[in-house]
Amino acid sequence: MTPVFALAVGLLTGVGVYLLLARRVFPAILGLALLAHAANLVVLAAGDRAERAPIVIDGVERGLLADPVPQALVLTAIVISMAVTLYLLATFAARARVFGADDIRAAWTSDAERDPQSVRAELAGGGRERE
């Protein structure tokens, strides 16, 4: 089990970080989704060694059942990371509306790096002008 998980986590993390470093919004969302997968697998790997699914069946020794606590944690984490991804996508779509497609094509520039004048101008009415 563990070698499989270790490899999977390593691969997901590496590619996730690589995509995050792309300095573009869209690959960053993909990268974050990969990191969420990796995190879930780490939590699961921290659990007890598993022989069977954590469902009580008469006649099966309970000690053999997988540790249900990390599983429950990961289950909610999956749903939450979905909500986070949706939120990122919504900001992505909303941002594209305001700043236009140029913004998506251009490299990531945080607002700190931008010329504040242009940010203000864009927020004030740049989005409308493009429509």
Binding site: A6, L7, A8, G10, L11, V17, I55, T85, R97, S110
Partner: protein
């Protein structure tokens, strides 16, 4: 301790605070405000007097918040605290009465008077507080009130604000150190009661450490060198405020606290070593600086510095009889300094100037003020038979009785400081009130109103009477107060004006004559307003603040420079690279026995990830991401997590749909989302990513060598199913064992999806304004097979979800999975019938469903609560129905809530995305 005493003590503290509130809320003008404030002070005064009269001594507990946290409101009533309360309330009464006349005509000054009353309440609370934490709260409240008071004169503008910030920052910094000291004392002695603490015998090391922590607070509050600079700055405040701040409150808080702690900390060697040199330096320096001032208010401010140095020095002598002398001087100084400041205010009002260069001959215009000033300044200079002479004589005597080195230092500082005091006292009186006026405004001085004369005269009267009545003062006031402070009876001679001719008396005569001659000899010629720049405490402090600010900016720039790449590098270095340390562990893993199924999945994952990096167009990337999600779901299956697998599969389906919608919602469609072809510094990226990957893998590998703590797992496996009446352990954990956690997480999901709705709603409104016709009419309803198919599939989807929900407690499924599958069903519905058929109202109702779900979960929690168990205790029972007994669990209701929250949230977000995408497609001419 009787309940009545507790009530009286509370009234004592609260009355001025209530007056402050009334003034503030009623926006009362100064005259009325002054009546309220003085009235409240009178109530406090009466309460203190009544408590003293009844000899109410002990600890009065008003309210106990938490015995374990030692939070309570309790007052320490004894002769010393009540006498101090009497002083604070009496001077508060006079100052507040005076303020009414002083501020007459200034509409906004009501606020200042309210603050003064609040300040009085904080000071009274500080004096009476028994609980050390409560004491700290009042301590900081006095600092906070003084901040607003010092900055309350708006004509001073930035200068006033700067002075107020200095006072606040310096004293709060000291206060924080005291908080640590008090907590240390509480931890060491296991009591938070000051009264109980004073009865204990502390180990010398404990006492010294506690004192070292408390001293910064005391020394900053009482403006000792080198933190004294805030006090002269604080005279930016209106004069009545200065009068109160410099006499009975604020600066006195420090020395009063020292007096309180003397019985328990006074034995530490740090007591004398810490207090005496600083007090001596402050005493002399304050005196020297006061002599250099031409502004009489600044002169008084520096004089306060000097006098507080004198008191600190005396306390630093560290003997019971020195404490007695210090107590007397605390009271004497409070009376004459309050009076002198109020006199300065009267002079300012009459002659419209506070400069020695302008004033002179004022006794002709304001003879009463001149009399008061003569008495008060005489008391400050230590002229017999005034109160100041009594206390200074006592201090001199005690200092001369001390050990050798202490003796030299103390007596030297007292003599130097006192010579200066006599000199500036004589200068103040003679230059202001005698001789000829030096300016037209002083010549045309108005007569001060009665309201401005009352308080100085009253204070002068009491300082005059104290001398002849010395034996009475000793018996009624000083001896019992000193006894209460020190905690043991003192063997001393009774206080008297005349002890016969002795060294102290001769020294006094020498001091007074020298001081007078120094003033006459120096004259006004040597006035020098500013100390050398390098010596100016407030300038130094400002540069210190500026330096710390630039350090802070440097740190911010280094850690949060706005570059995402830097953030990631830091995060990767902190979180993942330490995993490299665990790298050697990788060799110990049994790689061979890895399951073939697992190896296949990981190989697939690797290929998919490679494709993900290589692909440039967004839609293929999304599909590859979906496939990766499926691979992860397979890994969950491998780890024996059927619930996880189900959840992951459904989530992947949903996320794929949402990605597609988001891309279609772009103004130019998905084609325009460029990849990252042109990349500078690509190798750096690869290096960082590989390091992160290897680091993370090492962490997980290290987990395999650890032995997990199985206590919780065993509990859930063995015990929980019986309690929660369920066989699916994951569901049991989610709905019962950790249901509070689940509640929170579901709320996070709801908030996230509602956030999506909110983000896209604004955009949609833009669209409707911008694009002719708008999105909803422009997109034609979908045609073809889909609507028919959907009609058949939708009910099946809903039914499937219901089955998953109900079976979930014993088999794979449950609220999350059911909610997700309902969400998928809903997305199919949107695809089949188009968002225009559903419209805005259904989005509102979908959000409503999500909130309803969360509400249902909360309601389930309340059921357990109502039956007396902790929040979210799930109940299990049976209900007889038609002769059958059906099991009923609140966990089912809880899970229904989860399902509704998740499904409603996804539905609302999906509809928002769909509407935006459809609008975008219509506007762009795409379909």
């Amino acid at each position: 301790m009787s309940a009545a005493a507790a009530l009286w003590a509370t009234l004592l503290v609260v009355a001025p605070a209530l007056a402050a509130l009334a003034i503030f809320l009623g926006r009362l003008p100064p005259r009325t405000a002054s009546v309220w404030g003085a009235g409240a002070s009178a109530v406090s005064l009466a309460a203190a007097a009544a408590l003293l009269w009844q000899r109410s001594i002990g600890v009065a507990t008003v309210w106990v918040g938490s015995p374990t946290l030692r939070l309570d409101v309790s007052w320490r009533l004894d002769v010393s605290t009540l006498a101090l309360a009497l002083l604070v309330a009496a001077i508060g009464l006079l100052v507040l009465q005076y303020a009414g006349s002083y501020f007459h005509g200034d509409r906004r000054a009501g606020r200042t008077i309210a603050l003064l009353a609040a300040f009085e309440a904080a000071m009274l609370g500080l004096i009476l507080a028994d609980n050390l934490l409560l004491l700290y709260v009042f301590w900081e409240l006095t600092g906070l009130c003084s901040f607003f008071l010092i900055s309350s004169d708006r004509s001073k503008g930035q200068a006033g604000l700067r002075a107020a910030s200095h006072a606040l920052l310096v004293t709060v910094a000291g206060g924080l150190s005291m908080l640590v000291g008090l907590l240390y004392l509480i931890a060491q002695t296991d009591t938070a009661s000051l009264a109980a603490l004073l009865g204990l015998e502390l180990e010398p090391a404990v006492a010294t450490l506690a004192l070292a922590l408390i001293l910064p607070a005391v020394l900053t509050k009482s403006a000792q060198v080198p933190t004294h600079f805030w006090l002269p700055g604080a005279m930016a405040a209106p004069t009545p405020v200065s009068a109160y701040l410099h006499s009975a409150t604020m600066v006195k808080a420090g020395v009063i606290l020292l007096l309180f702690f003397y019985p328990v900390l006074g034995g530490s060697p740090l007591w004398t070593w810490g207090l005496l040199p600083l007090g001596a330096a402050t005493c002399v320096w304050g005196s020297v600086r006061a002599l250099a001032q031409s502004d009489i208010k600044l002169l008084m401010a520096w004089s306060t510095v000097s006098q507080l140095g004198l008191i600190t020095l005396t306390i630093g002598l560290g003997t019971d009889i020195a404490i007695r002398a210090a107590i007397l001087h605390v009271f004497a100084h409070a009376v004459f300094k309050a009076g002198l400041f109020l006199t300065v205010g009267g002079v300012d009002h009459a002659a419209h100037s506070r400069s020695l260069h302008d004033l002179g001959g004022l006794w002709r215009r304001a003879p009463q003020l001149a009399v008061a000033a003569a008495i008060l300044a005489g008391s400050m200079a230590g002229i017999p038979p005034l109160a100041g002479f009594l206390s200074k004589e006592l201090i001199l005597k005690k200092a001369m009785m001390a050990e050798l080195w202490v003796h030299g230092l103390a007596v030297g500082a007292i003599v130097l400081g006192s010579v200066g005091t006599v000199a500036y006292s004589s200068r103040f009186f003679f230059e202001v009130f005698t001789g000829q006026a030096r300016s037209a405004s002083a010549r045309a001085a108005e007569r001060p109103s009665v309201g401005l004369l009352l308080a100085p005269l009253a204070l002068a009267g009491s300082t005059l009477l104290a001398g002849p009545a010395a034996p009475w003062v000793d018996r009624v006031f000083l001896e019992p107060v000193a006894f209460a402070m020190v905690g043991r009876p003192l063997e001393v001679k009774a206080l008297s004006l005349w002890y016969g001719i002795n060294a102290a008396l001769l020294l006094s005569v020498l001091i007074v004559s020298t001081g007078y001659l120094v003033d006459k000899w120096l004259g006004l010629r040597f006035l020098k307003e500013q100390a050398p720049r390098w010596w100016h405490g407030s300038e130094l402090f400002d540069s210190l603040m500026a330096a710390s600010q630039s350090i802070g900016e440097l740190v911010v720039r280094a850690l949060a420079g706005g570059s995402p790449r830097a953030y990631l590098a830091i995060a990767a270095a902190c979180g993942l690279l330490p995993g490299l340390v665990l790298l050697p562990g990788l060799s110990e893993i049994d790689w061979i026995s890895a399951e073939p199924a697992g190896a296949t999945i990981v190989a697939t994952l690797a290929v998919l990830l490679a494709f993900l990096v290589a692909a440039v167009r967004p839609l293929p990337r999304v599909l590859i991401l979906t496939a990766i999600g499926f691979a992860v779901a397979m890994l969950f299956r491998l780890a024996n997590g059927p619930d996880l697998m189900l959840t992951q599969l459904l989530v992947e389906v949903l996320v794929t749909i949402f990605f597609a919608l988001a891309l279609w919602a772009l103004p130019t469609g998905p084609r325009e989302v460029a990849g990252e072809r042109e990349r500078p510094r690509r190798w750096g990226r690869v290096l960082l990513a590989s390091a992160a990957g290897v680091g993370a893998a090492s962490w997980v590998a290290a987990l395999s060598r650890s032995t997990p703590d199985t206590a919780v797992a065993t509990y859930v496996r063995e015990v929980a199913p019986a309690i929660a009446k369920g066989d699916n352990l994951v569901n049991v954990v989610l709905t019962d064992v950790r249901s509070v956690d689940t509640l929170m997480e579901t709320i996070v999901v709801v908030l996230g999806t509602l956030g999506v709705v909110a983000l896209l709603k604004g955009r949609e409104r833009d669209d409707r304004g911008g694009a002719a016709g708008g999105a909803e009419t422009a997109s034609p309803p979908p045609r073809g097979l889909l609507p028919g198919l959907a009609r058949a599939i939708l009910p099946i989807g809903a039914l499937f979800a219901l089955v998953l929900l109900l079976k979930g407690h014993n088999a794979p499924g449950g609220g999350f999975v059911a909610g997700l599958s309902l969400g998928v069903t809903a997305m199919l519905g949107f695809a089949a019938f188009g968002p225009s058929r559903l419209g805005r109202r259904s989005r509102a109702s979908l959000s409503g469903v999500a909130i309803l779900g969360a509400g249902l979960m909360l309601a389930t929690g309340a059921i357990g609560w109502a039956s007396g168990d902790p929040f979210l205790t799930q109940l299990h029972g049976e209900v007889a129905l038609f002769g059958l007994s059906l099991p009923v669990h609140t966990t089912t209701i809880f899970d229904v809530g989860v399902m509704l929250a998740v499904a409603g949230g996804i539905g609302a977000a999906g509809l928002a995305f769909w509407t935006t995408a459809a609008g975008s497609a219509a506007r762009g001419g795409r379909s």
